[in-house]
Symmetry: D2
């Protein structure tokens, strides 16, 4: 931590800062410049920089110790690759996950999956428990939905990714699910994250609507600190003043996170834009930016979907997109199977 | 719902929209103007407006049915007043809650409360379970903290408000706590909200960092739909591009919410600004804007606080503030006891 | 400037950073800690910190020199008080400015002003040149509007504040106007600011819709660097994700700016909320937060206003508000005449 | 315009709304539904919807008339293609503009351009007048810079794009410049836009930092209403809570604007990210999303650049990027020369 003071600070003020730094268990080193005095607090403890900002004469306090460690490139320089059912996320691989927004019925999942099989999909998605803004909106069909996903997946040799919304569901999910998905609203549900740190299955951690890159990595740190390193980060749009699209998909997150962390980063263009005709261009853009995969909503009959039909692709649109991104991927050094 | 089309839309496009509206169970009425054709979908069902936005010729779709009902002024025109230990929130009353950010020890709570008693505090606050961005930060002392709060409160005849962070804690909290607080990060933890709808104690529902007024009211609707109408909304700052303050305290929320809803609205200037010397002016401003109460962090020794000391008031600062807001309240038709 | 490196940085990397710092004309001092190496660049030059962020081994670069000087408390510790026609902004004084959004006609200004005289208004406002989002919206009546403002003001012994939108208008404005107002959209029209630095009349500088406190002060610095120290900063709301109100009025700006700078800060609750019934509570809140004045839209007949009638107060509402804020001001150590 | 009232509104309230609508020159048509009453205001006048929002019984007012016309697809369905020096922006073409952030000297421009010629650059960029946040930062070398750009461009048969920051510069710019660039800070400098509507040269209109898509199109409307249809829209990042990157590049703007408007949309990844190593991935992403061109900062020696060197590419990086986007473009139906 660095405590910056005006050059005009007097000796009593400097001594007071030094005392406060030492009281928190750090060693203090004073360095005087032309315009500023910088006092370094040497040590590795966590502290609240605002405690020092309020001291007389202090103009700024700068925290140097990041609050995430295991998720950083400094901790592990090579890319983490998460593999599920032969699909790889990370390194030179971009993995694909597709399926309906919500599980509605066996037939709906089966019909949709039959279409997706034409395009080599190996991991399917679908929500059984839906966190909805309104208490009067469709909330998902629950455990029945998990059973349907598992059953269809087993029929065709596929893996299942689905969203968990409460810590009490972990045991149930272990029976049916291959990849646990933590939604944007739960990105800072720390108790849930801690528990997911103890399981041995991959976790997709979506970015919160108003979460910074650093907060996102700190949430991943909760999982990793528990021993589970199979984490896939998922950019799905942030909230801004622009309301034309459902969210603002922040594709710069891809190169930024891949520089800071060894974890794979995928993109959800369906929630990121909220409109079907924006899903294709943003999927291509995400691949061109170097992401490690996509999770895309596809429905065999979007016009009748119970949830988010408007952002779900028709199967043939997915097929067209699949052809396009397979061509773009090698240009940026990636492979899509 | 209103589906707006360009005046240039042809009959086939109009017929298609009408068919789609009817397929969702609405009655359709077409009204043609100079520049626009407006098709009203009559009925009270919930639907996803984006399903219609993608139809050819459609320029805009407008949802008229609000997704919250019980929380609106239309449902209940008179102010809801929540009363706890003689302190009233709502109507002509502004209630005060004060105490440390986190419970650290019996002595810390006791010392702080002894100071607060000088200023007529009847409801104390303090966190036993702390949701922290970093897994390496102080996470609270757990149930022990609830016991301390209860014990100190009972000694002095006070009520206790504290934050619940997981659905599994409800039974435990029922033993110790008078007001359940739902933090900003849990504003859309819908399972938790549903459960809190079944208890018979007041709930403070903080606004999420990036939540709109409407989403906030919909979350309150989850609680109220379960049968619990004792809800206190709490503005605590939203996330914006400005980073000098911890959050941007949105005081316009007070008159806006009080027009839309009958529920009381209080303000948390401590989290809303994150810095002690901004808590006083923003508390006064909140009262002048007509809020129904304040929840303020006070610590008998903020310099040694384990959590958020920088935003905690010294007891005598609280006393000064108490005098000021007691004078401002009657000017805006409010009473502070 | 401080360049922070990982403790794992090797000697070649450190030497490279030192060389780069020296190449930009600074002196470099290396300080090694447990987790980080901090290299201070001593000197007062401005530089682009990103030039150092990209060097191998560097994790962060921190700029210490603020880019504004004359506007800081460090440069001038006592409050600047701007006085116009006996009305003071700053120090222990909160000044009031009121009038219609746009000048429509002599009669409209005269009728409105006659109402305002009942409440001791000494400075009137009104736009003659209106920056409008749409080219098809009412753009103001131009110089004719300035003449009307001057004429009415002279009749009653008042001062005039109005918005300038282009550098070419300065000479014309000098003939009619007592306070130049720079709108939010022009906060970074640097050529205009430079010119306003050379005049001898007060300037109201509104905060840009997405401007940080620091950018705002830097814009004021442009004016002050030219020799004109009569600057009144005006908070008028920022753009956020919340769209219910026209803007999000950021009242924390008041205590923040008053700590950083000696310049007075006033508030425009009319643009800050965009709705008449929110203007009163937010005006009271602004005064309670310690602002140095208000600029409020009032129209003798808002229902027929050509521009922003919906956010204009009726004269009697202004009268009511005037009584309330006169009572609140002394509680926070301020005087309103 | 549609005025929505609660079904519980009484006849007097309805009559009052009808009267108000008619007073503004519209025809009113009342349509009663189960939950809401919708009153359509038929007519093509512009009005302020807030005037109706405040009437008793009204819950919402919806404006249907867009404030931009000439820039819409409804006005002109085929793509506008802007061509400069053989480079096309729009339709099946993606055009490229490259050059240094600021003009520093003849040698600097010449050296940089010589490098760019290797990659078929036909339009160069470079700032002579720089709008800078701080009055103490480098402000550009002025007209001398324009002369340098013109001279180097003529030597090699190139076209010049550069930023105009004040209306008084138009005549001077006409002598030297092929494409006028309006920066983000001037997107709502309406007097400047009006004047640019009267010239016969293309204008690049950058999106403001906090401007919605609709405001951006309305600013383009100012230019087009004056008779100049050669407009190139440029997405360059918006301001959000995320501060790691300089701005948040909103690539969804590409498909959104291309649906709403016939005007070409290009992307500035240099300002959009602010860091060199993010420029490449975001450039590829922009092309993959279907943009009509890129404007990229390249400097022959970025380490010594006077302005924004950190976001400028090395020439060989540009060459590498050029190869990549030439491969991506045809996959999305675009051609890069």
């Amino acid at each position: 931590m660095l405590v910056v003071m005006n050059a005009s600070a007097d000796e009593a003020q400097i001594a007071n800062v030094v005392k406060s730094i030492e009281a928190k268990g750090f060693e203090a080193r004073v360095s005087k410049g032309e315009l500023k005095i910088v006092i370094s607090a040497i040590g590795s403890k966590l502290t609240d920089k605002r405690d020092f900002e309020l001291l007389p004469g202090v103009t700024e306090v700068i925290q140097l110790t990041t609050n995430y460690k295991l998720t950083t490139r400094a901790f592990k320089s090579e890319d983490t690759i998460v593999e599920v059912n032969g699909v790889k996320f990370g390194g030179k691989h971009a993995g694909l996950i597709a399926g309906p927004c919500a599980v509605e019925s066996y037939e709906q999942v089966d019909e949709t999956v039959k279409e997706l099989l034409k395009y080599n999909v190996k991991v399917i998605r679908g929500g059984a428990f839906k966190p909805r803004t309104s208490p009067y909106a469709f909330q998902g069909i629950g455990e029945e939905g998990l059973k349907i996903l598992r059953s269809v997946a087993d029929n065709y040799g596929l893996a299942v990714a689905t969203e968990i919304i409460d810590i009490s569901q972990i045991d149930m999910f272990m029976k049916y699910v291959d990849i646990f998905q933590v939604g944007a609203r739960n990105m800072q549900n720390f108790n849930l994250l801690k528990e997911l740190g103890t399981i041995h299955k991959p976790v997709i951690l979506k970015r919160g609507l108003s979460s910074t890159y650093e907060e996102w990595l700190q949430s991943a740190e909760y999982i990793m600190a528990g021993g589970n390193g199979q984490i896939i980060l998922c950019e799905r749009g942030i909230r801004t003043f622009e309301t034309y699209t459902r969210n603002t998909l922040d594709l710069a997150a891809i190169p930024v996170i891949k520089k800071l962390s060894h974890l794979p980063v995928i993109v959800d263009p369906s929630h990121g834009t909220g409109l079907r005709d924006k899903v294709e261009p943003m999927s291509r853009a995400a691949i061109a930016a170097g992401c490690d995969g996509l999770i895309i909503e596809v429905h065999y009959n979007p016009d009748c979907a119970l949830c988010d039909g408007a952002q779900s692709l028709y199967p043939e649109q997915y097929g067209q997109l699949y052809q396009e991104i397979k061509q773009i991927a090698p240009i940026v050094g990636k492979e899509i199977i």
